[in-house]
């Protein structure tokens, strides 16, 4: 059961129209090696679930520039002017969620929850088309879970089994996404033998992880 593949093999798993979760808060904790490899493939019409869409010419921003992204679901795309342009020209569809609703929807997707009611966004433009419910005199919106075909995540260390540790604030959405996609590919800085990670430091247990890619891309 060898989970280690090259970044090229990882990118080749992605299909036209795939729905892909991508970890990272901006470029921090984003699987940049795998993203770069996807830019070399012919896939397009991708649906990206990620808090942001990189920066111009960096990370997911490159996929936007190459017009490989059909739809984006996340919380903050304003920091990449290329995303604004692509949206205004009609090339890119955007679904915006408050960041807490976005992260909880991913958590729900990975933990078998069919949806949840959150007060965040009630009474705002983001409430349009959402089921509203009053609980104890407070307004809540129904949020359904987010799931994907693939999750591309970034971790710090992995062991051969696929157990993962994270580095500081580069953790962000990564452990949540690891649970919410059919195929989970983790880009890591280092792969050690099973047993070398302390059970206490493992944040994502190996059962969530299908493939490991070493940062840099080689096997």
């Amino acid at each position: 059961m060898n989970k280690i593949i090259s970044s090229k093999e990882a990118a080749n798993l992605i299909k036209n129209g795939s729905r892909i979760m991508v970890g990272g808060f901006g470029l921090v904790g984003s699987p940049l090696t795998i993203i770069e490899e996807i830019t070399k493939t012919n896939v397009n019409q991708l649906e990206i679930i990620s808090n942001n869409l990189g920066e111009p010419g960096k990370g997911l921003g490159v996929l936007v520039q190459m017009k490989k992204v059909k739809k984006a679901i996340g919380s903050y795309f304003t920091s990449n002017p290329d995303v604004v342009k692509a949206y205004q020209s009609g090339e890119l569809e955007v679904e915006l969620l408050p960041q807490g609703t976005f992260s909880e929807a991913i958590r729900a997707g990975g933990t078998g929850i069919g949806g949840f009611y959150t007060p965040v966004g009630a009474g705002t433009e983001l409430a349009a088309a959402k089921e509203e419910r009053v609980i104890d005199n407070k307004h809540y919106l129904l949020q359904t879970p987010l799931k994907a075909d693939f999750a591309l995540i970034k971790a710090c260390k992995a062991d051969e089994l696929g157990n993962l540790t994270y580095s500081k604030s580069a953790r962000n959405f990564n452990p949540l996404m690891a649970a919410s996609a059919d195929i989970v590919i983790a880009e890591v800085e280092e792969i050690v033998k099973a047993g070398e990670l302390s059970p206490e430091e493992i944040v994502t247990p190996h059962l969530f992880v299908d493939y490991l890619v070493l940062k840099g891309g080689g096997r």
Partner: protein, 224 residues
């Protein structure tokens, strides 16, 4: 002291020992520089840090430690890291004592617009709605008017509302308003600023506190 620094310093006087505090981008970030030495607060960042410290020197930048504005920060002793769902659970769940945030507008009832501009593509909301909804106390720090001189404190919001939740306090370079059930109450003002000037630059009706304080000596102002 520049106007924005004055606002930040005044806001810092609202913090209490051991408060869990979330600072937004802009003037709120400056508040960290004025926290009184006799209290300890813990700064929370949406991307998964409790215990944010000051910006590091250039040679000590760790690319994996950034704040919610994606800028390099350091961590304090006793800091912790957690995932985004946990972080927003803290916010929504009422575990943040004070959020200090900037606004595009705040209205007479204390409701805020700070995430979208009419006529522009709405492509970012981030944690703005979550922080307003869930924080125990919300303090607005803002310049009193826009760069064009338009009031930011208005009778009714013309920008899209961020949350139904009303903020608790509004601090500008001219004045401080407390948000009451009936509307805005002017509680502090800069000593060199006249009441007339505040009325002219404020787009909403407000009442004046009988015990109006002048912010002549910030260090002497006690948080109410």
């Amino acid at each position: 002291m520049k106007p924005k620094e004055r606002i930040a310093k005044r806001a810092s006087r609202e913090l209490k020992n051991r408060d869990i505090v979330n600072l937004g981008i802009g003037i709120p970030t400056l508040v960290a520089e004025y926290i009184p030495e006799n209290i300890q607060v813990f700064l929370h960042s949406e991307n998964g840090i409790l215990g944010v410290g000051p910006a590091p020197k250039a040679d000590a930048v760790d690319p994996d430690i950034v704040n919610a504005g994606k800028l390099p920060v350091s961590i304090e002793e006793g800091a912790s890291f957690f995932d985004s769902a946990a972080s927003f659970g803290m916010i929504r769940g009422g575990h943040i004592d004070v959020s200090i945030l900037g606004v595009l507008q705040v209205d007479r009832s204390g409701r805020v617009a700070n995430w979208a501009v009419p006529g522009k593509s709405v492509l970012g909301v981030g944690g703005a709605m979550d922080l307003l909804e869930g924080s125990k106390k919300v303090i607005v720090t803002t310049m009193h008017t826009t760069n064009e001189g338009e009031p930011k404190i208005v009778e009714e919001l013309s920008y899209p509302i961020t949350s139904w939740r009303k903020v608790d306090l509004i601090i500008t370079e001219l004045a401080v308003f407390s948000v009451q059930e009936e509307g805005l109450l002017l509680i502090d003002k800069q000593p060199n600023v006249t009441l007339q000037e505040i009325i002219e630059k404020t787009g909403a009706h407000f009442e004046v506190d009988q015990n109006l304080i002048e912010i002549s000596d910030l260090d002497g102002v006690v948080a109410k």
